[in-house]
């Protein structure tokens, strides 16, 4: 009697174990599939930009519920939710700068509505947003580099004069003109995309890229001597010695200032240097201490 019971028990135990193993294997495989799929589906296309205040991409994908509330509260209908097959994680919000850049509303309505904080509620000044970084990506087609006047990106920029400045440089081709080159400054660029939207070339010569794609990084060990010097008030290594120019008597040179200075007769009498060597080479020859 008890043996039969044991058999029944062991049979049901066997069934339980095999069922559990089957389930575990199947679901484990499924999980692997989902994991791998999501890894490949979660890479953000370089033309897609996240709304202002978005956490770094990995955290953003962990926090965004794909609810679309930011999309709804964007007054300019710039944001959209990614569909299957797009190179943006399914259901997450993004915008394409070339189609329509962020209008940078001062009250940033898309951020406080985010229920999870995937768009960081701490962002209250839109100028602090870093949706991407503008890069003058093609100097062969940017007409400013060709020597033509444009400056559309400079003028359209909502952080005008800070995020993009125009620097004059010599036009080597013509030899007599200036080129007005747009330069982007990452400390002010919000990545709103207005410059890319407005760029007059068929394909934008200035593009807004995700920051990690656009920005280089100097090695941690680099110290910029001129900055260190400025911070310390003086050179941190050997003290600066003034450069000496080998000039005829009565002539000095002021680097970065007056340039060549031809001294008057009276001034020329004063010794030019505190060198241990006399100006007269004979003095050196006659100096007994140097003799053998």
């Amino acid at each position: 009697m008890s043996k039969i019971k044991d058999n029944v028990q062991s049979a049901s135990r066997r069934k339980f174990i095999s069922e559990t193993a089957k389930n575990a294997c199947a679901v484990g495989l499924l999980g692997l599939g989902i994991g791998v799929y999501s890894k490949s589906a979660n890479s953000l296309s370089s033309s897609a930009l996240r709304p202002p205040g978005a956490l770094p991409e990995e955290d953003f994908l962990a926090a965004c519920t794909r609810c679309g509330l930011c999309v709804r509260d964007c007054p300019y209908d710039i944001l959209k939710l990614a569909d299957i097959g797009e190179q943006v994680a399914v259901g997450t919000p993004y915008f394409v700068a070339r189609e329509a850049g962020c209008e940078m509303c001062p009250d940033i309505p898309c951020v406080p509505v985010c229920p999870t904080g995937a768009l960081d509620h701490k962002l209250t000044n839109i100028d602090d947003a870093r949706m991407g970084l503008a890069v003058v990506i093609d100097q062969e087609t940017c007409i400013a580099f060709l020597g033509l006047r444009c400056e559309v990106c400079f003028n359209i920029c909502p952080v005008r004069g800070k995020a993009i400045t125009v620097e004059a440089s010599h036009n080597k081709r013509s030899g007599k003109h200036a080129r007005f080159i747009p330069i982007v400054h990452s400390d002010s660029c919000t990545g709103c995309g207005k410059c890319e939207e407005a760029c007059i070339t068929d394909q934008a010569a200035i593009k807004v890229l995700p920051i990690d794609l656009a920005k280089g990084k100097l090695g941690e060990h680099y110290r910029l001597g001129w900055k260190e010097k400025e911070a310390a008030g003086a050179s941190l290594v050997t003290p600066d010695t003034e450069h000496r120019y080998n000039l005829p008597e009565g002539v000095t040179y002021d680097h970065g200032g007056e340039g060549l200075i031809i001294q008057s007769e009276a001034e020329a009498q004063t010794p030019l240097s505190d060198s241990p060597f006399s100006d007269n080479p004979l003095d050196t020859l006659n100096n007994s201490s140097i003799k053998d």
Partner: protein, 282 residues
């Protein structure tokens, strides 16, 4: 057993059309109304509810949020903003009282898809089914919650058909419908009532949420049962009926206690003997 009449014919004769379909009609109306409310904003500019089933905002004040999302965010090491936490609390309270899987049968848009697949399956007399255990959903739920801890992102949300379908309709991103088609085909040919009853991790989570719900189906007139089996055929989770309906000898209360029950009310409608009623599950 006298299963010689088509399903539903007996109740139609005994109770008429309204009597035989009232809960189904109410359910479809609720699903339709929910969808309409969400659509009213984007279509007509009347924002009663904004967002989608993942998280939403009623009249720009009351937040709602899907518990599975917040669980995944936790697992990925993110503490969501309090809005989402309040939203989840509201949802858990609502479904915790009314029955967790009320979500599945009364609000989830995929329910209409899988019910249609099941209806077609009956119409075409398609038989044959692989046997996926109903417990598989817990395994899937587990893996869905574990995956964010490994990948650092809400991995399952690249696939989750429930919010995907809702988004497809509300935000007009229709290529998501391919996933829905896959579920329809799966339910039609591969596994009867397969997605909602065997695989969906959201269903599994709502089942857990509804473990102590107040509202449930009672088989209070079970002595009238004439074993026509109609309720077992229409029920999306037929295993829940048996203890309540047939448990008299074993002194089991005539109440469906299993929280797999979706409170859809199909058994109430279909029973020509009027055995089932909604009641307080205590």
């Amino acid at each position: 057993m006298k299963n010689n009449e088509a399903i539903g014919q007996r109740s139609l004769k005994a109770k008429g059309f309204i009597g035989s379909y009232k809960w189904l009609i109410l359910r479809r109306l609720t699903q339709l109304l929910t969808m309409m409310l969400f659509l009213l904003g984007p279509v007509a500019g009347i924002w009663i509810i904004k967002g989608n089933l993942a998280s939403s905002l009623i009249l720009d004040t009351v937040p709602l949020a899907e518990p599975l999302y917040v669980l995944q965010a936790f697992a990925a090491g993110i503490l969501p903003h309090s809005t989402a936490l309040i939203g989840v609390l509201i949802i858990i309270t609502f479904y915790g009282l009314l029955g967790g899987r009320v979500y599945c049968s009364w609000f989830c848009p995929v329910n209409v898809v899988t019910d249609s697949a099941d209806w077609l399956r009956e119409k075409l007399s398609l038989t044959g089914s692989i046997s996926v255990s109903r417990n598989t959903r817990y395994w899937i739920l587990a893996i869905v919650v574990i995956l964010p801890a490994i990948t650092g992102t809400m991995a399952y949300e690249s696939l989750n058909p429930v919010p995907m379908l809702h988004r497809a309709i509300i935000f007009g991103s229709f290529s998501a419908l391919s996933v829905i088609l896959a579920i329809f085909v799966f339910d039609l040919f591969i596994q009867k009532k397969g997605w909602c009853g065997h695989l969906c991790p959201m269903g599994a989570l709502y089942k857990l949420i509804g473990s102590f719900s107040l509202v449930g189906v009672k088989a209070d007139k079970r002595s009238d049962c004439d074993d026509c089996m109609d309720c077992f055929i229409v029920c999306p989770e037929p295993q829940v009926i048996k203890p309540a309906l047939k448990g008299e000898q074993k002194n089991i209360e005539p109440v469906i206690k299993d929280s797999s029950c979706t409170n859809c009310g199909r058994c109430i409608d279909i029973c020509h003997k009027d055995v089932f009623h909604f009641g307080i599950r205590k």
